[in-house]
């Protein structure tokens, strides 16, 4: 993880924040030693709760945009400038770094299903490599985003429903050096995840929104 922090600082020269989701493996001190600011959550909130903490921190400290990436080494700091390029070129509020080669068959089936369900035309829903601009940050820092459990579908639907423009850009990713996917750990987890996501999608279904906006992106704000 120290490698990731150092890589990001080298590539972008920006402030780096590591959110420690109540871990006990010395994440915080390692991150501080590598030159990052650290948020230590006293209670584990999961991937999205931790990300939201980071976004709230960034807003509070006057940052105008954030990039989130996993600290397990699967997202390469060298790919971060691509997100900025896509952000500029597409005038997007949110840019997702997608690794298409990485997608296994069960994932592809799952994504096809989610595309149908949500009406979002995205290739990878769970990628943690994302850029949010200040408008998206404000929406995500709000209390209405606090009860989401996963950072993917619920977050993206919330942003899309508020008219945020979401685009994807292809990036190269590495095999995880440490840890494993939280969602795709086992079939039971996948089933649980799909069930919860389906309920979420159905309860948030906005038919008018789907038909009038053929692309994932809403109107320019």
């Amino acid at each position: 993880m120290a490698e990731v922090v150092a890589g990001v600082r080298r590539t972008l020269g920006c402030g780096v924040l590591v959110v420690d989701d109540a871990s006990t493996d010395g994440t915080a001190s390692a991150a501080r030693a590598a030159g990052a600011e650290v948020l230590m959550l006293p209670i584990g909130l999961g991937a999205w709760g931790a990300s939201q903490a980071g976004i709230r921190y960034a807003l509070r400290n006057g940052y105008r945009g954030v990039i989130s990436l996993d600290a397990d080494g699967q997202h390469l700091p060298a790919s971060l400038p691509d997100l900025f390029i896509a952000h500029q070129r597409e005038h997007a509020n949110v840019v997702i770094g997608t690794c298409i080669e990485r997608l296994s068959l069960p994932k592809r089936i799952a994504w096809q299903y989610l595309r149908l369900l949500t009406g979002l035309r995205l290739r990878d829903f769970t990628s943690g490599l994302r850029l949010y601009d200040v408008q998206a940050m404000r929406m995500l820092a709000a209390p209405e985003a606090s009860l989401l459990d996963f950072q993917d579908v619920g977050v993206l639907m919330l942003l899309a429903s508020k008219g945020m423009r979401i685009v994807e850009t292809p990036t190269v990713m590495q095999e995880r050096k440490e840890g494993h996917s939280r969602v795709f750990a086992s079939w039971a987890m996948v089933a649980r995840y799909m069930f919860h996501t389906t309920i979420l999608c159905i309860s948030r279904l906005d038919l008018g929104n789907r038909s009038s906006r053929p692309t994932s992106a809403g109107a320019e704000p």
């Binding site: 709760g49 939201q52 709230r56």
Partner: protein, 130 residues
């Protein structure tokens, strides 16, 4: 053998007594006590006046009236459970936001502390880069 009316009266009064005791001992928050007292009152009234149940049964078209209190009771339990989960969701949201805010404030305190210490020059430089 006890009369059904006496049984109901014992249940209702017993429940009401227990509620007052719990409120008195500060184990039960006010608004919750109100709900449970209503339950106690309903038990008491329906049990003491069985004719009421029969009348309610005719009113609602339920032929077998004795099942009526059970239906009412179950519905109330379901409503109560639903309310409980709604409250829990609200508390979960508050808990998550508080946790985040706590971590952010803790980091700020840490930052201020480091800035006040001499030799924290590198930290200050990094802040300027923002």
């Amino acid at each position: 053998m006890l009369d059904a009316q006496i049984t109901a009266a014992i249940l209702g009064i017993g429940l009401a007594g227990a509620i007052f005791y719990l409120v008195r001992r500060d184990h039960l928050h006010g608004p919750f006590a109100a709900w449970w007292l209503m339950v106690a009152a309903a038990t008491l009234v329906l049990g003491m006046f069985p004719a009421l149940v029969v009348w309610l049964g005719m009113l609602t078209g339920i032929n077998y009236a004795p099942v009526l209190p059970i239906i009412i009771g179950l519905s109330m339990v379901l409503l109560r459970l639903l309310k409980l989960d709604i409250d829990r969701s609200r508390q979960e949201r508050q808990m998550r936001r508080l946790t985040q805010k706590l971590a952010i404030l803790e980091q700020e305190i840490e930052h201020l502390r480091r800035e006040r210490q001499p030799g924290a020059e590198s930290d200050r430089n990094r802040r300027d880069e923002r």
